[in-house]
């Protein structure tokens, strides 16, 4: 056995400890389930993404219009749809936070 092989073995021991750390820290956890979003949580996250998308687009449109990059005509053609998108996303978030699925609310 060379010193270098022993060093290699020491490296192996260290990494085994690192890999085993989650089990050594919590030998008997209350729950071992992976943190995952439930379907409603995923729906809410996607609604929040849609809200952020619409609000960012509105902000950019306003800045472009103010800076003269977008004409009044183009601004008017687009701003209504963007506001509608933002409104829909906000309403969807409200419904989901109250616990009503988006699809259910629409059909009801």
């Amino acid at each position: 056995l060379t010193v270098w092989l022993l060093l290699g073995a020491a490296l192996a021991v260290v990494v085994v400890v690192v890999v085993a750390l989650p089990f050594l820290r919590e030998p008997a956890p209350y729950s071992d389930a992976l943190d995952e979003l439930d379907p409603a949580g995923r729906e809410l996250l996607e609604a929040e993404e849609a809200r952020d998308r619409a609000l960012a687009a509105l902000k950019e449109l306003e800045a472009d219009h103010r800076g003269g990059r977008i004409s009044d005509e183009d601004y008017r053609a687009v701003v209504g749809a963007l506001r509608r998108d933002a409104g829909e996303a906000l309403r969807a978030i409200d419904r989901l936070q109250e616990g009503t699925p988006v699809g259910g609310a629409k059909s009801g």
Partner: protein, 668 residues
Amino acid sequence: MADLGRAALLVTLGLSLYALVGGGLAAALGRRRLADSARNALYASFLSTLVAAVVLVVGFVRDDFSLAYVAGHSSRDLPLQYKISAFWGGQEGSLLLWLLVLTAYATLAVWFAHRRARDLVAWVTPVLGGIAVGFTWLLVAVSSPFDTIAAPAEGNGLNPSLQNPYMVAHPVFLYLGYVGLAVPFAFAMGALLSGRTDERWIVATRRWTIVAWTALGIGQLLGAHWAYEEVGWGGYYAWDPVENAALMPWLAATAFLHSVMIQEKRGMLRVWNVTLVSLAFCLSLFGTFLTRSGIVSSIHSFTQSSIGPWFLGFIVLAVVFATAMIWLRLPQLRTTARLESLVSREAAFLYNNLLLVALCLTILWGTAWPIVSEAVRGETVVVGRPYYDFFLRIFGLPLLLLMGIGPLIAWRRASLRGLARVFAWPAGIALATGIALIAFGAGSSILGLIAYSFAAFVLATITLEFARGTSARRALTGESVPTAFGRLVGRNRRRYGGYVVHAAIVLLAIGVAGSSAYDSVVEGRLSPGESLAVAGYTLTFRELTERDGPNATEIRAVLDVRRGGDDLGTVQAGKNAYSVEQQVSNEVGIRSDPLTGEDLFVIAEQVRDDGTVYFRVFVKPLVNLIWLAGLVFVLGALITLWPDAREERRLATRYASAHERAEKHATT
């Protein structure tokens, strides 16, 4: 010492396998501790790979020729910086560098993302582990840098063309680019495997993609500068398959960086984006395969190179896996948003994407066709410069124009009247530039004229963008011009950083067009005292000198340079004769004019025993703009990459509530 290197690589193999298998099981069964443990294995794999890399570096620095790889790529009198860069001077070291960069990227990307998206990262871990397994297997079983031999008294030395400062940095940046594309690929595949096709994979990989793309861009420019200085043929890009290998994933990643904005703004192009990310990563594997397998120089390298078939299998596996995942998740990737108008920003980005991908695929076809032809038909085919130049012009010029048009069109739809108003000034400036160029006698190249007019158009739109934005901000806040300008850029980093990158591409286009469409060349044999004239320069061959360098004999022809009546000093060109390597390299002489960006480029083709030298001399207008473009490109990338605290807070709020809900769900 080789034992430690081998042991460290074996440990990395074990850890990567654990990340792949354990991580896959943890994600499929929803086991938190196993997922954390697999993630730790990924972190630890960086540590063990680093140990292996340090062992190899120490081997080079200590001239340990008992390591066959060190003996094959170094010598005792090799300067220290080249002993270190000899690490990646051959196949085994390059693979080890690949693995080191991969495990470093994997560690950082997973570390930063796992708090925001545990369920996603649980699936990303096995994907990254799988890629690491592939490379570690090659290093352990097929092509080890730690094979030992009876130590010879002296090594074989390093190929002289690699003994250049640019070769110290070029491969590192190239690999930072190639390997970095594994991160968005792994997150995209993680999103598809987990069925979580929300935006988290994009948010988690946005910066890593830009880092990889920037590194790949810098790596290519460094490589071009190396070719310009070291290869000595008077150019910087020859459409060589290995050069194309780096360009293709860069083009695919460029397309992705644009199309991902459409997903972020409109929720569209989800399928296209995962396809582009997969294409970019598979092309980076293909690039490494082309560079490392030796298949390019001869189809028979499959029998000569030990890694060719393995690598090809790896590429096929990646392509099949990515295609299957995209196919399986198609229903979740479909969106309801549609393209509303063909005259809109998303449409312009789409045209940009189509052109970029078309250019990428035509280069791929040109690069792969000689290989396919020799393998299938047994015929050797050469796809030459005219093929690539043709497609560069067909796709590149519209791309240049779109760089000016895209950012100024409204999202969703734009009226033609509005466009006419926004583009009136840039179009006028482009027209004036074209007329001025013709008036000054630069109309000899129609393509050069078009390229310069388009470049003027894009530069005008970028300048107007900055001016309008600053002016609007001043009107709103009453800030001074520098403050308004600084805050405009600081609060819209991606947008204005992107414009700076566009300016870099324009500089690159001007430099390429100038140095290729308007260059001059002259050649001839000179005895001392005789002269050559080219593009206003007169070069007089004064003398031949010879001196001993650190590991080579340096022979230089000294030429006096004059332009008009001005004495511009001397330029030296010649050869280096390397005694250990038994090779001779061309050492070109370059005199740059910082005011005009022009280079006088001298090659001493043949140095004869009778004291005469055969020279080839180029004058390359504007070529230095290409290297300046590199600096501007880095500046733009840094602006884009710089963290935006407000954006971070917004994302933190969004994902903190999602994380709380996930934790609550896990404990119930």
